[in-house]
Amino acid sequence: MVENMENTTALLGWSLPAIEAVDKMDRPYVVVGPPEFQEFAKANDIPFIPWEFDERLLTRSDELYEQLKALHTKITVPIYEETVEWAGILNAKLKDDPRIFHKSLLLRDKGLMKRKAQLAGIRVGIFEEAENKGDIYRFFKRVNEALIKVDGDMEPIHVKPLNKAGTVGHRMIRKEQDIEQVTNEEFPLLMESHLEGQEFSCEAFIHNGKVRFLNITEYVKLGHSNFVPASPSLEKWRPQIKAAIEQLVDAFEIKYGMIHPEYFITPDGTLYFGEVAGRVPGGHIFELIEKAYGFSPFQAQVLCSDPDTTEEEIASFFPEEIVSAKGHAASLMVYPNTRVIEGLDIPEELKNHPYFDKHDLFIPVTSKVAERVGFGNHYGTIFLFGEDSEVVRDLLLQYENYNFYL
């Protein structure tokens, strides 16, 4: 390694799969993560900077920047939602380009994000920010007035925190009484009209402002089950979807890295933009991409985050979309339907199915089931893999409500 050459990749956040992937890449790296991992990192020779990613971004980022600079850091790559703006401010400093930071903030504020998309002419539902319950009552009423739904059969709206990952804190308001469930601590919130259609996500790897690889993840049930690549009935809209992603990339001025937007698509192919994140998606999507396509999405993210990656490297890294997939890889996330877990029941029929890949369900050490937050803390996942997306989907639906935990 040449001294003083700025070529280190910094992973922001602790994730073993990400560390393992970058460790295999034969390029210098450092992990910036919570101090509790320091001992482990030391014992395993993982280059490590202990860091609390707290609210004090503006006052403390210089300190982290100096540490990273000393390690010849070229780029930082965010691993989870809370580190996206840290990556933004650090990359801005490393590249001496403040706009990088401001662009990253767009990805962290769902209100700003929607506005930006709307300004760029991207189709979104209607939305507003809410400061209090009064705002929600008014928005709910106005949406339903606009849809001329005044007697009973109300059109639902959604509310969610401005800056939380995925579905954390998401609520659906179907009637006025639901608004009372919202607590004062949850404000400010983003309110959105309900969008009909099939929901899916994209994982787009961007290098030099161009989409280099586009994966479409089909949601069977939001937060419960999805598969990669999407079924032919969704993939047939790929050209339109790709165009929408390019529009989004332009609008958000994204040059390097990976984005994870969510869309709704109506049966006639009309796309509605939901939201977009600039970090590793949940729902085991990276694992599914790796299983289906055989490349590591973590490595792809690092490669695409680095402006110096060559066209040749990009071209040889990514396989061809859809056709090179060896099959459809699916995950079914399982939540206990019971207060106390006493046993497991994985049906023989499922375990013996040729599409059954593996599962990681165990009876947890503490048998009491934790409260559910977003979709982040499912207890285990069942993985499927097979050629026919219809069979995959049927299995996911068949076992969606199965009581795996007794």
Partner: protein, 662 residues
Amino acid sequence: MSNLIVEKTIDKQTAILKDKFEIALEKLEQAKPFAKSMYQTEVFQLATELAGSFDGLSVIYSHAHRFDETGVFYAGLWEDITKMEPSLVGGSLRDKGINSIVELLSEMRMLSIAKGDYVHPVVSKEEAGAFLNEVLALNLDLLFPSKTETYRTKLDDHVFRAQRLFYYLGQELSLNAIAAKIVLEIERLTVQRPITTGRILKMINMSRQLIDSGIDEQTAEALEKYACAVNGPTPLSQDVSNQREYRLRLEKAHEDEIEIEARSFAEAINDTGLVSPYHAVLIRFLNRKDSDNIPKSLDLSEAGTESFKANRQLIHDVIQISIYPETCQAIYGLKRLLEREVLAQEQVVPAIRRLFELPIHAQARQVLFRPEHKQSGISLNGLLVAGVISVLGQPLGVGQGLQATCQSARAISLWSQYGIVQLLDYIASAARDNNISMIFEGEAIQSSLLEGGVSTDFQQDVDPVSSLLVPHLDKIYNEMMKRTLLRGEDGHKWVNPEFYGGWIPTGFINVINQATLKVTDYPAFVKLFYATHHPDYNEGRELVYPNPVGIFITNVHGELLGLHAVTIQRINQDQNGGYRVYFYNPNNDSGQNWGQDIKATVTGFGELEGESSLPFHEFVSRMYAFHYNLFQQGDIYMVEDSLVAQVEALAKESWGKNYVWA
């Protein structure tokens, strides 16, 4: 080689699992150490599936020699094979979570060492075999599952898996070695003469199937001896099929035959401390028709016979209401009680008599009642009396069972030695009023008014007196300790003399400074113990009363497990002239290995029934608190520093690692 055999015979599903398992092991092997944890789960899952069949177990076994190098146990509790303990295996296997499968894999690793397929740098073939033999001997219920347990639910998968593993291990290991281990284990437990014998009886009964399985003669004889002792140890009892038949047979027997019966039973209980239900039938029979023969059937010492003669009416009544086949173990207690001459003490006889017809509180009825006694016709008062006989006969046979109530078990043991009338008063009060009252610093503490303490549904593995008293004692002890919380010194200093009795000396020292929680003045602590307890330094004073002391319990690796209450019974020279501490351990398992080669023994150094012993300095190295008499101590400066250094080194390298040393 074993791989090939496996492939030929296994079914399709196992073959698929085998392939997946091998791939998963491969991935795990290739992962860097920091990433191993991400690949272990898959190996555990597939092992769980494979462990569902014997073929699957063979597949697991065929890879067991690689487990360490691939990282199956990497960074987990099972990583260091030298830290495995046979006594923990059963518990882990019965755990529903991930531990049970990791434990299974660890046994397979051990088996591959035992069979020579895996050469381990530290653990030898023989050690691995001995380990597994001990595991099997300790978990006979898994090795010989009862036939009635065939009702199967999803919830019990892990238990069936454990049974399958044990069957597999049993096939692979020598039954002879397992049987020998079982005999050792039974001997180790019986030599301590516990009151509660459920666990021993279970082992004896389950190991009967081993007797005719071609094991070596000596081991078979030993198993036979125990099986006989608890079933039919006499000519006539071996000849009959039930208790009724036996009783009828006794009616027809002539004098010589009865005498042989009496002597055979006596021999069996002397030999094993275990009592056959037929013995109870004989004693009840003799009690009615031929009570002169009772001393013979108990093989009473001279003192015991005198005591019997002096209290004939009481003994007659005690047998009549409390000695039944279901309570036969109390016969051993009766023998010991007579030999201890307990009944000669004033007020003891009336205090026992009072229990015959004591009205029993509804709460206490629930505690004493055992469903298995429903058919026997024995009254609750009879059960209670049988329990009292056992405790008074075998003060060191009291055990705490599976509860953390060593303080209370120790109290019952102490009182049955030096506070019998007090103990009988507490028993009467708990049984009749569901309450025990003690005075602490001038104020009465009533157990019935206190919340908390150990739950009352715990008593399946303790004797009736313990099940009656411990919930009360536990609450009172906790309450007394609570009242001393803010005194800046260890509360035991004040609580012990008031709780156990006035004969506990008031001098007290704890090695942990209660304000700083640091080990403070350790050399002074050690010297004080020598100067007050070691005959070479305390001017030859003998211990008058047993001394309740606090010890750090450590495991076989010398690691701290927790605090424990034991009683020093006496300090004496052993046959080699070295001083030993003889102590009572309420945990029912006194022959433990505490690490650093400190192994408490229960026999071989002149231990009395129920005592364990350790060389003086080894015992001191585990102590954290003791009482002493301020007016009876030798000169501290006479204790050599080299003695202290020896003890201190043992302490620092074991429990001492968990503390800061001031």
